[in-house]
């Protein structure tokens, strides 16, 4: 089933792209993506199309790291590949989503920072560049930290940081001409690593009763609902 599921851009990545576009000024801004899902051939085409969405928003150039050795690899390998591309293009700021919305682990930005040996800010909901520094607000569970770093740095952002732009038709057409560079591990000087061993993947069976109350007056429906909830012993 996983193989048939189409890829999509992580929603929060759009916020990271938007923030990069605000900051980039006259500099170049790149997209980098590491392909992890088989089958390689078909996915490369899919991933390229998705990267063109980020180019249409306004990024200048994209890198796609695609290699059999990365399919199903764990996030340590992802981080190494991203770090290698960052060094290759000479970027001094890495912007990422706080997490991907499918698994929500948020581990890749800290891993990339560790790999590069750079400062790290996660869960940033507000940031500005100020005299060579980045001043930001980190959105934690019970508090907001006001923090600063001196780039180079890795920064992960939340959905609240901005409203991502929607590309115009003209921008979408222009993006077709922007470069999408495809690289394998060897071209980045990396080797395949041991894979995370996925022993089993089983669907969560949701055993909900799905009783629908749709007939009668609002009063009758209210009575019905409360009767069920009493039978369940929850009220």
């Amino acid at each position: 089933m996983v193989e048939e599921t189409p890829l999509k851009i992580n929603d929060i990545d759009r916020n990271a792209v938007e923030e990069a576009l605000k900051l980039k000024g006259g500099d170049r801004a790149y997209a980098v993506s590491v392909l992890k899902w088989p089958p390689l051939q078909r996915r490369v085409q899919e991933a390229e199309n998705l990267l063109r969405e980020a180019l249409a928003m306004g990024l200048d150039e994209a890198y796609l790291v695609a290699d059999e050795g990365l399919l199903g690899a764990d996030q340590a390998a992802t981080a190494k590949a991203i770090a290698a591309v960052v060094k290759k293009v000479g970027a001094d700021l890495v912007l990422a989503a706080e997490a991907s919305i499918d698994n929500y682990t948020g581990e890749v930005p800290p891993r990339v920072a560790a790999e590069l040996g750079w400062p790290l800010l996660t869960y940033v909901r507000e940031m500005k560049a100020e005299g060579g520094k980045v001043v930001a607000k980190r959105d934690l569970e019970d508090s907001v930290e006001v923090v600063e770093v001196q780039p180079p740095a890795v920064i992960s952002v939340t959905r609240e940081i901005n409203q991502p732009r929607i590309p115009t038709l003209l921008a979408i057409r222009a993006a077709m001409k922007k470069p999408v560079n495809k690289l394998g591990l060897a071209e980045l000087g990396l080797r395949p690593e041991p894979r995370a061993e996925l022993a089993e993947l089983r669907p969560v069976v949701i055993q909900r009763k799905r009783v629908i109350i749709k007939d009668g007056t609002p009063e009758e429906k209210a009575d019905k609902l409360l009767q069920y909830l009493r039978q369940e012993g929850v009220i």
Partner: protein
Amino acid sequence: MKALVVYPNKEALYAASTIGEYAALAVGDAELKAAEGAPVVYLIKGDPRDLGLRASAVLQTAKEYDVIVIPSHKDSKTLGGYVAQRLGAPFATDVISIKPEGGKLTVERYVFGNKAVAVLRLSVPAVLSIAPGKFMGEPPRAQSKVVELSPQAAQLFRISGVEPKASGGVKIEEAEIIVSAGRGFKKKEDLALAFDLAKAFGGQVGCSRPIAADLKWLSEDHWVGLSGHKVRPKLYLAIGISGQPQHIAGILDSRIIAAINSDPSAPIFQYADYGVVEDLYKIVPILIKKVGELRR
């Protein structure tokens, strides 16, 4: 196997104790107190918010341990990813079970927006963050041996201030009954209906993402969902919530889910035990009255 607990709390200490011999790493006095009972406690004097300091301390001690166990919150996950990369270790977040087996660790975690459970076999060293509410046992208590460390801190960032978050004074994760409000509510004032019903039930008010993050009608401590709070009440009553996957992922552990929505095709009904197709403005006032009478 040997486990090291960072950001010690009772659940993480218990989880570590099921793996084998264990120790805790505490930054500051509050964490030292929380680690009480662990056989060995490494104590670092400094700011508990300083992730660079904590990461350095973990890396200094980690080589003696096979597994690093942390709770699941934003700072701990940031730390987890960072030290995992330095250690060349896998990092499994929000694990719901842990079993050491033949020199490896078998863990389970929800994936794909909680639509599936993945069983992972991890080599050690490994970093694990544990899902709340899944490791509720009593950790064995020992006379703690406290070892002070003063690591060379790698600075990750400088903290110039801390602002408290606007709070509705709610601990939604701990609520037994949650009345949760979504975009079906037309204006902020109308949320009084949700609060009145929650009060009648003796419960708390939750909400979906748009209410907290976009409209800011409620503070974020009310926000239920994958990027808000994951909840496990005995009754979750979703009112005017359509049921986006990320909201559903935050309520899966609820014992009973009930939903009120005027749209019979709202996805929330697929995930509910009891679904009422009705205009919330008509039925909620009736429920407030009836629940109030029931409980009298």
